[in-house]
């Protein structure tokens, strides 16, 4: 098994970061794949939580959405959405939430609502879903998204989910965005500002900087993300054999 796609590298890098977590709230889209992969590779003990009302899912196949029947079958608990949001999330039981984003800025503000003006949008995106409350109430937030100068923007067009506001996050909030994984690299946050932690194999720093809408400061000696292992790639390809989601 040689070679891998950018998307495969991205979900593998994301899944690895769930190694030391216990309870993970799974967002729709790429997070769904990354978390299902983590459960099969980096952390089989991971408790997967879905806003559809599932705690402790054991997905037997790649969930087609965050409300797939494979999530309810075999789960530790299925609850109403009220209980899920009120007791599991707002009650402080979620260690990390994995979210997607259409736009993000250096402060980790996430936009999944509109491109352009809210009242007359250029592109109407899906909206918050649970992200707005997840961003406040999860103990921390990881993001996985495709990176370009259009998605990594100086200022998001709409703050759907707050990142690190000027002056810091209120004490009663969770710690907020701590990690962003893209097809090019892995980013962390230092004092509320996004920093490049590692670049994926075969990606140069100029490419990462070009795919960023602000002037990203990068240490020339930045680390390289370890490439996917054979076991990780095999697990990815079991989950998405036809590359329906990881084109």
């Amino acid at each position: 098994m040689s070679g891998w796609t950018e998307s495969e590298m991205m979900v593998v890098a994301a899944a690895r970061r769930l190694t030391d977590e216990r309870v993970c709230f799974v967002g729709i889209g790429l997070p769904n794949i990354a978390c299902a992969l983590a459960k099969r590779t980096a952390n089989p003990q991971l408790e997967l939580v879905y806003e559809s009302g599932v705690f402790g899912a054991e997905p037997a196949r790649l969930p087609l959405s965050i409300g797939d029947p494979t999530l309810a079958a075999g789960a530790a608990a299925v609850t109403g959405m009220f209980q899920l949001f009120a007791y599991y999330l707002q009650g402080g039981r979620v260690d990390v939430a994995f979210l997607g984003a259409a736009q993000i800025d250096a402060a980790g503000n996430i936009n999944t609502t509109v491109v352009g003006d809210y009242a007359a949008p250029d592109v109407r995106l899906p909206g918050s879903g649970g992200a707005c409350e997840i961003g406040i109430n999860a103990k921390k937030v990881f993001v996985i998204m495709r990176q370009s100068a259009r998605s990594f923007v100086p200022h998001v067009d709409f703050v759907t989910t707050s990142g690190h506001p000027p002056g810091g996050r209120p004490a009663r909030w969770g710690a907020g965005p701590a990690l962003v994984v893209t097809q090019l690299g892995v980013f962390g946050f230092t004092e509320g500002v996004m920093q490049l932690e590692s670049v994926h194999p075969g990606v140069d720093i100029a490419t990462v900087r070009a795919a960023c809408g602000w002037d990203l400061e990068v240490d020339a000696a930045v680390a390289q993300t370890p490439p996917p292992t054979e076991a990780e790639l095999a697990a990815v390809r079991v989950l998405d054999p036809d590359r329906t989601y990881l084109r």
Binding site: L64, M81, Y118, R124, G127, I136, V159, S162, Y245
Partner: protein, 304 residues
């Protein structure tokens, strides 16, 4: 007293032009059969409420039944966009569509307040977000017991809530397993409720397992028996999500002519959902039927 009715008669009697209508079910048990009948009866000026508008509201909006959408996540889950709704919002094509937007917990809280008779629901969300600016009905309120600020959302009391369920009695006691979403809150919040069931069962079946009753007949006005009534969404243990349809909808929904042709072929040209299910075909139903995996029973005891 039996509340069993045909879908035609239930919609004719209970869904009126201008109504606020919620077809609830979070990815699970979405009553497409009811949505199609509302299209077929050419209801107009509806305010459609749902956490996730899903394909069913894309179809209803395209067919011209809706004036307004109240929602928290608007997409084709796991696939992409709802293009008919986007055309209305982005280009007023062919007409504008009013929207009122919340987050998921905000929408769940709205139904909860509506069901519980409360003037608002407080939640820890929205702080730092632009959503309260976009929707002035999301309002910060001070705790009466300290200096904390939470956000309030208003109650949502639909004129009609329609829910899909696996089984129900003729009196409307409705049982659901798998994802239960916010159907209970949405039903108790509504003035009128239509239960759409895969199977009609005897009262004894419900009474043998009362923990599984999500909505009691107390709040139900009509029971409609529609096998496969939630396709292309799913009914846990009965049929899987038809993911090929969700994927195919993207291209149909992008093209207004293809979409209109789809509605002609799959809604207007068919008398009811039984014809739709026959048109989907036995082979597809076989493919979508999961392997049986019954729950272990529990013992309630007899205390006679």
């Amino acid at each position: 007293m039996s509340k069993v009715a045909s879908m035609h008669d239930a919609v004719a009697a209970l869904v009126r032009d201008g109504d606020t209508v919620a077809i609830e079910g979070f990815t699970h048990l979405i009553s497409f059969a009811a949505g199609h009948e509302i299209i077929r009866q050419r209801r107009r000026d509806l305010t459609l409420c749902r956490l996730t508008p899903d394909i069913v509201y894309d179809q209803m909006v395209a067919a011209g039944v809706a004036r307004k959408l109240v929602f928290s996540w608007m997409g084709n889950p796991g696939v992409g966009s709802l293009h008919a709704i986007r055309r209305r919002i982005e280009h007023a094509d062919p007409a504008p569509l009013e929207i009122e937007e919340y987050s998921h917990f905000g929408m769940v809280g709205r139904y909860t307040a509506g069901a519980a008779g409360l003037p608002f629901f407080p939640l820890r969300s929205y702080e730092g977000s632009d959503l309260p600016t976009a929707n002035p009905r999301i309002v910060p309120v001070a705790s009466p017991y300290g200096d904390e600020i939470v956000y309030a959302v208003p109650p949502l009391n639909p004129d009609v809530t329609i829910i899909g369920v696996q089984r129900a009695t003729a009196a409307g006691d409705a049982q659901v397993w798998g994802l239960t979403g916010c159907q209970q809150e949405a039903a108790f919040a509504a003035d009128r409720v239509i239960v759409v069931c895969e199977e009609l069962v005897d009262e004894a079946v419900v009474r043998a397992d009362p923990n599984r009753t999500l909505v009691p007949g107390l709040v139900v006005d009509a029971v409609v028996v529609v096998p496969h009534g939630c396709h292309p969404s799913f009914a846990q243990g009965y049929y899987d999500r038809d993911n090929a349809f969700y994927l195919a909808w993207d291209a149909i929904s992008r093209d207004p002519e293809a979409l209109a042709a789809w509605i002609d072929e799959w809604v207007y040209a068919l008398a009811d959902h039984a014809e739709y299910a026959a048109k989907v075909g036995e082979e597809r139903w076989r493919e979508l039927t999961p392997v049986s995996a019954p729950s272990g029973g529990v013992d309630y005891g007899s205390y006679a």
